[in-house]
């Protein structure tokens, strides 16, 4: 299939349908509206159900229901909408049901603005909802990855019986780039736990209430065990010119695109700079940071030091972690990142 020029939001939606998504529930919010719009236009004629819920809370609970029935299901929203979904996400994670949750982040906090932001990093990777649960969180950095990682998200969700979040932002959702859809078949996973009608077998139940402490403790440990197995096999990242680097940039999503350009600009001036781009934000890729212990690090993000915390944990005191960010819908430019790089490596004399 030839490449087509698409918005990130549209490419994500098309990939979801190709991955076998047959139910979509959502509520409109900028800058992700092309996702429900594409689903409304295409999902019914391709054998699925599209429903605009009356709120984000009902949308996520519809996802809970469809996931319990074993259907590949997705919801999509943007930052404030995700806050509303958090209770449901905790329930779905507790019930160990597979689904895909999309957050095309805008800038916050509060109602904030509609321009790109990355301020929901903590919410995505540290919880957001209540209790000890984890989402697998994937961070695309191109329209191609909006498609590829969404397709993969459905497979991962089924494989691990766990919600998977796509953490994108307004820039990735709104921009157009060429995209090529893979001809891959979705992973076929048996779902003997699904509530499909109990004819000829014992009923399946979906329940997250467990008021016997001994039992609920066991359940928590079982979840923790699953999360550690996910961490062992599903950690993803990309490195760019890191091998001989004195300074390692760390960035995901839109910020990583900017950081990569800054790496090229710095290299053109003879500075040994590389980029570590986490693709899975949870599980977080600590390994490449550990391999570069003793060097300098520079985190570039569109939030107030949220990614810095995970980089610091991975660097574990074995190196200095610097920080450059923009907020409020501002996107950093490669040139301003280059100034920071020179400031670190040349002590400001390069400016």
């Amino acid at each position: 299939m030839a490449k087509v020029l698409m918005k990130g939001n549209e490419a994500l939606a098309e990939a979801a349908i190709r991955a076998g998504c047959r139910a979509f529930y959502g509520y409109p919010i900028t800058p992700q509206n092309e996702v429900p719009s594409y689903m409304a236009q295409n999902l019914p004629e391709r054998g699925g159900v599209y429903l605009q819920a009356e709120s984000e809370v009902s949308a996520i609970n519809m996802v809970y229901g469809a996931a319990g029935c074993g259907v590949r299901v997705m919801t999509s929203s943007s930052s404030p909408g995700l806050s509303l979904k958090m209770e449901g996400i905790s329930y779905i994670a507790a019930a160990e049901l597979p689904c895909v949750i999309v957050n095309v982040m805008r800038c916050g906090p509060g109602l904030g603005g509609i321009h790109p932001g990355q301020g929901d990093y903590f919410q995505a990777v540290k919880g957001g909802g209540h209790g000890d649960y984890r989402l697998i969180v994937l961070a695309p950095a191109s329209v191609q990855e909006m498609a590829d990682l969404t397709f993969e998200a459905f497979d991962l969700a089924d494989k691990w019986r766990n919600p998977v979040m796509i953490l994108a932002d307004g820039l990735l959702g709104q921009m157009m780039e060429p995209v090529k859809f893979s001809q891959k078949e979705p992973l076929a996973v048996e779902k003997p736990w699904a509530t499909t009608g109990a004819r000829g077998r014992r009923p399946n139940t979906v329940n997250t209430l467990d008021i016997v402490p001994e039992s609920l403790e066991r359940r928590n440990y079982a979840l923790a065990d699953k999360y550690s197995r996910i961490a062992q096999s599903e950690t993803r990242w990309q490195e760019y010119k890191t091998e001989d680097a004195d300074l390692l940039l760390a960035a995901y999503g839109t910020s990583a695109r900017v950081a990569r350009s800054a790496v090229d600009m710095a290299r053109a001036e003879g500075l040994k700079v590389g980029l570590i781009r986490p693709i899975s934000l949870w599980p977080f890729p600590s390994e490449p940071f550990e391999r570069h212990h003793g060097k300098e690090f520079l985190v570039v993000e569109m939030s107030m030091g949220q990614l810095v915390e995970d980089v610091r944990l991975a660097v574990n005191g074995q190196g200095t972690v610097h920080f450059h960010n923009r907020l409020g819908g501002m996107v950093p430019t490669p040139r301003e990142v280059l100034v920071k790089i020179k400031d670190i490596l040349l002590g400001g004399e390069g400016q």
Binding site: K3, V4, L5, T30, P31, I114, H115, G170, L171, Q174, M175, M176, E177, P178, T254, R257, V258, R260, S261, A262, D264, V331, T333, P334
Partner: protein, 176 residues
């Protein structure tokens, strides 16, 4: 790498011009990106998009130092004239821009895009006239690729307008 900003009133086809350029670049095997100004905008308000056409991977799709700017109205000239790279190109729609550009370190090309479109019988194709003038000054993609892109960018119900669009593009390219 060519970085372009196209700006005008909402409804002037500014976003479509950018999509045509990006699509044409893609058809010619280049890396491309398109990014719209999005927000609480409306028909009659100002809007713009950034297009990058490159041989290599594209970093940020937001253009801050454009090689070329196409402006379809006066507010867009005021906003984007200062941004053009020295030596860059500025195409402006003289029908709706009532002042001359001030920069002397860039190539400024004035074309009465809306008036030419009116002559062709449809003021909504002023965007194609301006695009033609730009492609004459900076042939980043071929007219053939634009023609093929029209089939992809315009919805099926507008395909009968492709010949008129190409006619407008040619008028822009031929404008002295």
């Amino acid at each position: 790498m060519t970085e372009i900003i196209i700006a005008g009133f909402g409804g002037q086809g500014v976003l479509v011009m950018g999509q045509l350029l990006a699509n044409a670049g893609m058809l010619e095997g280049k890396e491309v990106s398109w990014y719209p100004s999005y927000g609480p905008e409306q028909r009659g308000g100002t809007c713009n998009c950034s297009v990058v056409i490159s041989a290599g991977e594209i970093g940020s799709p937001i253009v801050s130092e454009p090689d070329a700017v196409i402006v379809m109205n006066r507010p867009s000239l005021d906003r984007f004239e200062p941004a053009v790279k020295p030596g860059g190109i500025l195409v402006y729609n003289t029908t709706l821009v009532d002042r001359a550009p001030e920069r002397s370190d860039i190539t400024a090309i004035g074309i009465p895009a809306t008036a030419v479109a009116d002559e062709l019988g449809n003021s909504r194709i002023a965007n194609m006239v301006a695009l033609g003038a730009f492609l004459k000054a900076s042939p980043v993609v071929s007219p053939e690729s634009i023609s093929r892109s029209l089939e992809r960018v315009l919805s099926q119900r507008h395909h009968h307008l492709i010949p008129l669009n190409m006619q407008a593009l040619e008028r822009g390219r031929a404008y002295q």
